[in-house]
């Protein structure tokens, strides 16, 4: 038997096939993660016509250009506030931000923690490839200690962010971390993230053979995936602060946080516009706000790994 030649792929209806092949290097994990995202969308029956993808700048930032849905490729670091504005204006649409670690956590770091704090009802897929790929492999806020990049040629002396931990404590409703090897679990996780009302965040560790792997003994994309296979420990609902990633040591992947659903930022913004809300007294309005506030003590229990049950 031989491989059967095909012209179309099962995910083609979600893709701007006229733009394929995409710009990503051979073996880059972004395409894999994008595939997982589209399968998750398909699985939960999310209508692509009612779905928006917003990206920032960088390799992952190009994702918005390949999906057959309304998509925005914005400025460096600003995908989140663009998406927050869009979602607030159009809460009827599903809004996903699909971008990279540098875009979301270096130049855009302030925006993502605020979007999580507000519990904006958007899904953020953050591909963490430990470097700036598009500009040639420079130091990122996620580059592991000792990591060699073009701007840390002697080894990285900085400590990287623990993205999942950071976003969990900032106030997100759903937080998970997977790798580009854990495709099935990633897909399941993305299904949950997309369905979750509130700020949902999925970090995906991924390989950048060209810009990062090449300088860090993982020249072949397979090398990075083998690394993930060796060191990733699947654990659900651990304390997100235990999610620190150190070179050549086991690191946690899994679902860090799945908080009970609460009114989202947009729910509250739109409530303000209702006549019945505006015409109540200030005391009654305060009461409504308190009633619909985030259950921070529950969130804090979940975050501390003690579970969310009463």
């Amino acid at each position: 038997m031989s491989i059967i030649k095909a012209d179309t792929h099962p995910l083609d209806r979600y893709l701007r096939t006229e733009r394929l092949p995409h710009v990503w290097c051979p073996g880059c994990g972004i395409g894999t993660v994008l595939g997982a995202y589209l399968r998750a969308m398909e699985k939960i029956g999310m209508d692509p016509e009612k779905s928006i993808m917003v990206s920032g700048i960088g390799c992952t930032g190009r994702a918005a250009g390949y999906v057959r849905m309304d998509s925005f490729h914005t400025t460096h670091g600003r995908a989140i506030p663009f998406a927050v504005g869009l979602k607030a204006a159009r809460p009827d649409l599903n809004v996903t931000v699909f971008s990279g670690d540098g875009d979301l956590f270096a130049i855009g770091g302030n925006h993502i923690i605020h979007a999580a704090r507000r519990n904006a009802n958007i899904t953020v897929v953050a591909i963490n490839n430990f470097t700036y790929g598009m500009t040639g492999g420079q130091l990122a806020p996620t580059t592991p200690e000792t990591g060699i990049t073009t701007t840390s040629p002697y080894g990285n002396v900085e400590s990287p962010f623990n993205l999942a931990g950071l976003i969990a404590v900032a106030g997100a409703s759903y937080v998970a971390r997977w790798t580009s090897l854990h495709v099935r679990r990633l897909e399941k996780s993305l299904e949950k993230a997309l369905k979750k009302r509130g700020f949902s965040f999925v970090e995906v560790l991924s390989q950048c053979p060209t810009a990062y792997g090449r300088r860090n003994r993982m020249r072949d994309p397979v090398d990075t995936l083998k690394y993930f296979q060796k060191y990733a420990v699947v654990k659900n609902h651990v304390n997100p602060l235990e999610g620190v990633i150190e070179p050549n040591k086991p690191f946690v992947v899994g679902e860090f946080l799945d908080a009970p659903e609460e009114p989202t930022f947009e729910d509250k913004l739109w409530e303000l516009t209702k006549a019945e809300f505006l015409h109540t007294s200030q005391a009654e309005r305060s009461e409504w706000i308190i009633e619909h506030r985030r259950h921070l003590e529950v969130l804090s229990r979940i975050i501390s790994g003690k579970g969310g049950e009463e």
């Binding site: 031989s2 059967i4 095909a6 792929h9 394929l20 073996g27 894999t32 495709v183 897909e187």
Partner: protein, 93 residues
């Protein structure tokens, strides 16, 4: 991946037959990264000698019964960053 081989063992023990798959490839989307080959749990794929339009070596199938047969697990389809390879369940003739 570990999950797949466990499933396989379980199925074997229970006497059920594994599903069989057919592998499809959009050859010119392939960038020859080798992820499908490296991570196919049944090792049914190898690098081919031929070049596609972009000069990459796409994978080819080496089905050698009874070990190296496609079980329609879909991992190659999922790991492929290029939307190039996919599998379909093989219907029994």
């Amino acid at each position: 991946m570990a999950t797949e081989s466990n499933t396989e063992k379980l199925l074997e023990r229970s006497g059920l037959s594994l599903p069989r798959g057919e592998v499809y490839l959009i050859e010119d989307r392939c960038k020859g990264c080798g992820l499908c080959i490296a991570f196919c749990p049944k090792h049914v794929l190898v690098v081919s000698d031929k070049f596609n339009k972009k000069g990459y070596h796409p994978p080819e199938l080496v089905e050698e019964e009874p070990v190296n047969v496609c079980i329609n697990c879909g991992f190659c389809e999922r790991i492929c960053p290029e939307f190039a390879i996919f599998v379909k369940e093989k219907k029994e003739e």
